[in-house]
C-alpha cells in the first residue's frame, strides 16, 4: 500500500541523518539535522525506552520539523552456545588486557515492546526498522498513530516482504554502508550489493519511496543516489565527527586515519562494517553469528578501550567513503554542504551531456 504525502516530500534537503546507534546518536545531532532541512533521526537501539522518550521530547522541544526514530527488530535468539563460549574465551583475554572483564553473552529484545509503546504514544514522523521486517499489524498501528513505517532492506526480496507488510518507504542499504547490515538474516553474502545496483533492483520490484544508504560522504555521491531513483540519501559516517554527535574521542581519532573497512561479526555477532583494527584482524574469522550475545560479551571491553583511548579494541563503524568525511564541521554545515554539492553535481552532469 503506497500512502500519499510522505515526509520525504516535505524535506528542504533530500538527506536523511542515519540513526547511528551505540554512541554517536544524540538529540542534538537529530535537532541539527532537522534545522538544516534534512530528516533527523534518533537511534532507539541500545537505548532504554524511557531515555528514548526523553530524547524524542528533547528534539521536539528544540526544533519544529519532522524526525524519525530507528528501532532494532529483535531476533529469535537461536544461537550455538558452544560457539559463543569458545568466542567468549578470546574476548576474556582481550578484555583483561584493558583491565576489563567480558560481559554476559545474553539475548535481549532491547525493550522492544516498551519502545513500541513510546513511539506509538510520542508519534515521531517516522519509525524505521533494522534487522527485520515489522509485522503488518505493527505497520497498521503506526499508520493509525499517523507515523510512517520505514524498513531497512539489503536485497530485493526483503524489499518485497517489507512492501507486503505495509512499509511506507524503504531504506536501501548498499554494502558500502558503515555499521550493521540491516539484513533480515545475518548470513554471509546476503544483501552484499553495491548501493546503485541495489537501488535499481529494488526500484524494479517495489513501488515505494526509497532512501539510499551506502558510503555517501559528499553531495556527489548523494546526487548519484538521487539520480538512480532514491528520494533521499542517508548519511551517517559524514556526521560522526561533528560536535553534535556523541562519538567517543578515540573513535573520532581513528576516523582521521584512512584505512580499509570490512564487514565483521567480531564485535557484535552480526555483520557490520568498520575500519579494520587489531581486534577485528585477530577475531573476525572466529566470530559466530550470535547477536546480540556477542554485543553484550564485548561491551565492557569496548567501553574500557574507549575510556583508555585505545582504538584497537573499539568497533570503528564507518562506511567505505570515510576517507572523505568532514572533520570538526557542524552537522548543520555538513548538511548545507551536501545540499550545495548535490545541486552542483546534477547541474554539472546535465551540462556535460
Amino acid at each position: 500500500m503506497r500512502r500519499e504525502g510522505s515526509v520525504l516530500d516535505r524535506l528542504r534537503v533530500p538527506v536523511v541523518q542515519a540513526p547511528l546507534a551505540g554512541g554517536p546518536s544524540t538529540p542534538e545531532l537529530a535537532t541539527a539535522a532537522v534545522r538544516a532541512g534534512a530528516l533527523g533521526f534518533l537511534a532507539g537501539g541500545y537505548r532504554g525506552a524511557e531515555a528514548l522518550r526523553e530524547d524524542i521530547c528533547h528534539v521536539r522541544g528544540a526544533v519544529a520539523g519532522p524526525f524519525g526514530v530507528n528501532l532494532f527488530v529483535p531476533g529469535d535468539g537461536t544461537v550455538d552456545a558452544a560457539e559463543i563460549e569458545s568466542y567468549a574465551e578470546r574476548v576474556r583475554r582481550e578484555a583483561a588486557g584493558v583491565g576489563a572483564e567480558a560481559g554476559q553473552p545474553a539475548w535481549s529484545d532491547d525493550e522492544w515492546q516498551s519502545k513500541l509503546d513510546v513511539v506509538l504514544a510520542e508519534r515521531p514522523a517516522v519509525v524505521s526498522f533494522t534487522f527485520g521486517c515489522p509485522e503488518r499489524s505493527l505497520c497498521d498501528a503506526l499508520h493509525g498513530a499517523g507515523v510512517e513505517a520505514w524498513v531497512t532492506v539489503t536485497e530485493a526480496g526483503e524489499a518485497e516482504q517489507a512492501a507486503g507488510a505495509g512499509a511506507d518507504a524503504l531504506v536501501v542499504q548498499g554494502v558500502e554502508a558503515g555499521g550493521h547490515r540491516g539484513s533480515f538474516l545475518d548470513r554471509d553474502g546476503v544483501g552484499e550489493v553495491g548501493m546503485i545496483a541495489l537501488l535499481r533492483l529494488v526500484a524494479s520490484r517495489v513501488d515505494l519511496p526509497l532512501v539510499a544508504a551506502g558510503g555517501i560522504c559528499d553531495g556527489y555521491a548523494a546526487a548519484a543516489a538521487l539520480v538512480a531513483g532514491a528520494r533521499a540519501a542517508q548519511v551517517g559516517t559524514a556526521l560522526l565527527d561533528t560536535p553534535e554527535a556523541g562519538t567517543s574521542p578515540a573513535y573520532r581519532e581513528a576516523l582521521r586515519l584512512t584505512g580499509p573497512t570490512r564487514l565483521t561479526r567480531a564485535f557484535t555477532g552480526r555483520r557490520a562494517r568498520g575500519i579494520v583494527n587489531g581486534f577485528m584482524d585477530r577475531h573476525d574469522a572466529a566470530a559466530p553469528s550470535a547477536y546480540p550475545h556477542v554485543h553484550s560479551l564485548t561491551a565492557p571491553m569496548r567501553a574500557a578501550a574507549r575510556a583508555r583511548g585505545d582504538p584497537d579494541l573499539i568497533n570503528l563503524w564507518a562506511g567505505q567513503g570515510h576517507a572523505l568525511m568532514p572533520h570538526g564541521v557542524s552537522a548543520e554545515e555538513v548538511i548545507a554542504r551536501l545540499a550545495r554539492e548535490i545541486r552542483a553535481a546534477l547541474d554539472g552532469a546535465r551540462a556535460r551531456m
Copy 2:
C-alpha cells in the same frame, strides 16, 4: 600527466563497452558499440596476438570511430604448487562428470609482448590494462603511437600508481562489477569497494578522466556514475545477451534466471564475480589464488559443460545488476536505451530538486 583531448570527449554517448574477455567479446559487438556512439572494446585477454590483429582490422573495416583494446598485465607466476595440485584433484573429478579432463595448470603471459607489438603497430584509440599497472615506458610508447593508456583500478592507491605511470584515464571498477576484479593484487578485501564510493575516493586523489564500472545495467545507474564524477559508464553484463556478443547459449540461458552473484577464485584462481552455481558452491572455499593456473586447469571442463549446455560448471560472470539486463535486444539498441535513460535520469533528478 593529464593529456588534453581524450577520446572520451568525442563520444556521442558516455558509455564504454566492457571488453568481456573469454567468449562474449567479438568484433561485431565492438563495431555495434562504436556505431551506437559509445566506445567499443576488443578483449585481448585469452586471444592470440594474430587473432587480435585480425579483430582490430575487422572493426576498423566495419565502422569509422574510435575503439579500444584491453590487455591483461601478466603476473609473476608465484604460486603454491601443493595448493594447485590439491585443487586439481577436485577439478579432475568434476571434469570427469562431463567427459572432460582437467587442463594443465600452467603460468602464461598470454602473449603479452606480441600483443603489445600488435597494438603499437595497429594503434587503436585506447589500450586499457587489467590486473596490473603498465610501466611508465609502456605508457610513453603508447603515447608515442598516439594511443591512450587506460588502467583498471579498484582502490585509490592503485589509481595513484597508475597516474604516476602515465595513465590517460582510469577504469574505476566497483565491487558490483561482473567478471574479474582488475586489482593489481589478488588479495581478499583489496578493492572491494562500491562504485560510487570508489569514484569519489579516486576523484579526490587523482586528476584524470574516470570511467565507472560496477553493475551498471540501465541508464539510471549509468547516470549515477556520471553525476558522481565519471566521464563515462562502462557496461558489460547489459551487453552479454545481445546477438552481437559471443556468449555461449548455456551462459545466456543462465543469465535469464535471477540469482545472487559472488566473488570467487574457483574458476580461474583470481577473484571474479559470477552467478552462484554448483561448481562455485562446491569449490570456492578451496580455490587458491593462482592465476592463470586455475584458469587453464578448469578450461577443458568449462568448454565441455558449455558444449553440453550445463551451466553448473561454467563461469557465469555477471555484475550485481544482472537481473535488470536486457535479453535479445541488439547492442545498438541497448546503448541507445542507455542514452535515453541517462538523459531522463538527469532531467528527472534536477526537476525533483
